[in-house]
């Protein structure tokens, strides 16, 4: 049996200590000074070999230098205020080698008067989930940056014709800020006075939903000036399930209308 601290072993039924020890997730208890006084088997298994016992250590000793001060300060604040601590994420140096991101769920240990005397914490390794999330977020930022950087005016509508994305080139092109176009029906905000596709048909939003179309037309900008434009519009097809999500259109000025 792992030598648990006096704090726990004196207080608890050995059966409960055994139960805590066998829990399927890493569980630790800290005293009011923040020192680890109990660590179950799953928590001990996280310790890098040669790092000694967890009991007697401070959790911030396992963290990168830049997280230590905040973590320590936050712990003592919780002890002082007695407010239930929120779920946090911490980088912990573990037996897996290197730092891993752990989600830490905590509750205060209180004495009979309700005064905090320590903290319980259950930790969950969320490194992979966090990396997947960061990857998706970075990919989103990269793609947003691409759209925003395009020199061509690009407007994206959803499948109902409501404007969902307007890049800076389109803001400049029409004179409307993105915030005033987003959420508006494209045919109302950017009225098209005339438009002929290269196949000779008159363009409508529904036509663009059904298939790519290119043509020339005349639209009004924010100042109600006429713009002669070339528009190429194409349905946005969901890569995963093939459904049509909306329409992406690229707008170019052809020449000023006299």
């Amino acid at each position: 049996m792992y030598p648990v601290s006096a704090l726990i072993s004196e207080a608890l039924d050995p059966a409960i200590v055994a139960l805590l020890d066998e829990l399927p997730m890493a569980y630790v208890e800290l005293n009011s000074e923040g020192m680890i006084v109990f660590a179950n088997r799953a928590a001990r298994a996280l310790q890098p070999p040669g790092n000694g016992d967890l009991v007697g250590k401070y959790p911030w000793q396992q963290m990168p230098a830049d997280e230590q001060e905040n973590s320590c300060a936050e712990y003592f604040l919780a002890m002082e205020t007695g407010e239930d601590p929120p779920v946090i994420h911490r980088s912990l140096y573990t037996s897996a080698g290197g730092f891993r991101t752990h989600e830490v769920r905590r509750s205060l240990i209180r004495d009979e008067q309700g005064k905090p005397t320590g903290m319980r914490a259950v930790t969950l390794d969320v490194t992979e989930a966090q990396m997947a999330h960061e990857e998706a977020s970075n990919a989103r930022l990269w793609l947003e940056s691409i759209l925003n950087s395009l020199a061509e005016a690009v407007i994206v509508t959803d499948a109902l014709g409501f404007i969902r994305n307007v890049n800076p080139a389109a803001e400049k092109f029409f004179g409307w800020p993105a915030s005033e176009l987003s959420g508006q029906l494209i045919e109302k905000r950017i009225p098209m006075l005339a438009f002929r596709t290269r196949s000779g048909k008159t363009l409508s939003f529904h036509m663009a939903l059904n298939g790519p179309c290119i043509g020339d037309g005349t639209v009004l900008d924010r100042a109600r000036d006429l713009l002669k434009v070339e528009i190429s519009a194409s349905p946005i097809i969901d890569k995963e399930n093939g459904s049509t999500l909306g329409v992406v259109s690229v707008w170019r000025k052809i020449e000023p209308v006299p």
């Binding site: 704090l7 726990i8 004196e10 207080a11 608890l12 039924d13 059966a15 409960i16 139960l19 066998e22 829990l23 399927p24 997730m25 989600e103 769920r105 905590r106 509750s107 240990i109 004495d111 005397t117 320590g118 319980r120 259950v122 969950l124 969320v126 989930a129 997947a132 999330h133 998706a136 977020s137 990919a139 989103r140 930022l141 990269w142 793609l143 947003e144 940056s145 691409i146 759209l147 925003n148 950087s149 395009l150 020199a151 061509e152 690009v154 994206v156 994305n165 790519p212 290119i214 190429s232 519009a233 194409s234 349905p235 946005i236 097809i237 969901d238 890569k239 995963e240 992406v248 690229v250």
Partner: protein, 248 residues
């Protein structure tokens, strides 16, 4: 003294905890675990584990549990969607381990449950946003090629594949100036467009280049540096290519 009562100890755990015996009967559940279930489920202690899962999953859950009690085997982390006491569906991640009696025989299972609904929702949202933006770039009728800050091609949309005859896989990872060489520029008075120039500012040029079949094409190229929205760094160049006709 911190704890007196085993139930109090479990009730104070910061995650939902449940214990079942070898027959699958729930013998202990803490406060957070009990709160996960709608009121009509009532007291969960004394019920079978499979009484808490949707009707369609009960039999498979029962068989799986009883099989796992036959011999020590892996107890992987599982995910379940449940209709919770707050009237909403929650996604739970369940961590389990065996309980052994004093003779080392399997006596049941510990289970600790984390509600990952919000984390999962945030992840799905980021993934959906990524899919949406990828679909937009792929759907643009104009040929769009994206390079990183070193000039290596990072993405090629279907319109660009069609324009040049190369697949995205063939161009991705190559320096753009090697993948799509420019033969000459239309305007001899304008400085020839190069990658470094495109990193600094938006550019536009008309040039003659070769497609995959080595046929010359007259192309209008407009480029813009890609500025990282969060940090303001230039992270690459996005270029739009359109054919103006066959080169003379």
């Amino acid at each position: 003294m911190i704890f007196q009562d085993p139930q109090e100890t479990l009730d104070n755990l910061p995650v939902a905890y449940l214990e079942a015996n070898v027959h699958g009967v729930i013998v202990r559940a803490n406060r957070l675990r009990r709160a996960l279930h709608p009121l009509e489920v009532g007291e969960i202690v004394g019920k079978f584990l499979w009484d808490l899962v949707p009707a369609g999953d009960r039999e498979s859950s029962r068989v799986e549990y009883l099989e796992s009690m036959q011999a020590v085997g892996p107890m992987p982390v599982i995910r379940r969607s449940i209709y919770s006491g707050d009237g909403r569906f929650h996604i739970l991640e369940i961590h389990r381990s065996y309980i052994f009696d004093e003779n080392g025989t399997i006596a049941g299972m510990h289970s600790m449950t984390i509600d990952i609904t919000e984390t999962e929702r945030a992840h799905q949202e980021a993934h959906r946003a990524q899919q949406w933006l990828e679909s937009i770039v792929d759907s643009i009728l104009e040929a769009v090629i994206v390079t990183d800050a070193l000039g290596f091609v990072r993405s090629v949309n279907p319109a660009a594949e069609q324009l040049f005859g190369y697949t995205a896989a063939e161009l991705t990872g190559k320096p753009i100036e090697k993948g799509l060489p420019i033969l000459c520029f239309a305007d001899a008075n304008v400085a020839p467009l190069n990658f470094s120039m495109a990193l600094d500012k938006s550019t536009k040029a008309v040039a003659t280049m070769l497609n995959r079949e080595r046929q010359p094409m007259k192309i209008e190229i407009s480029t813009s540096p890609i500025i990282d929205k969060e940090h303001g760094y230039t992270v690459g160049v996005v270029s739009v290519w359109r054919e103006l006709g066959a080169a003379a």
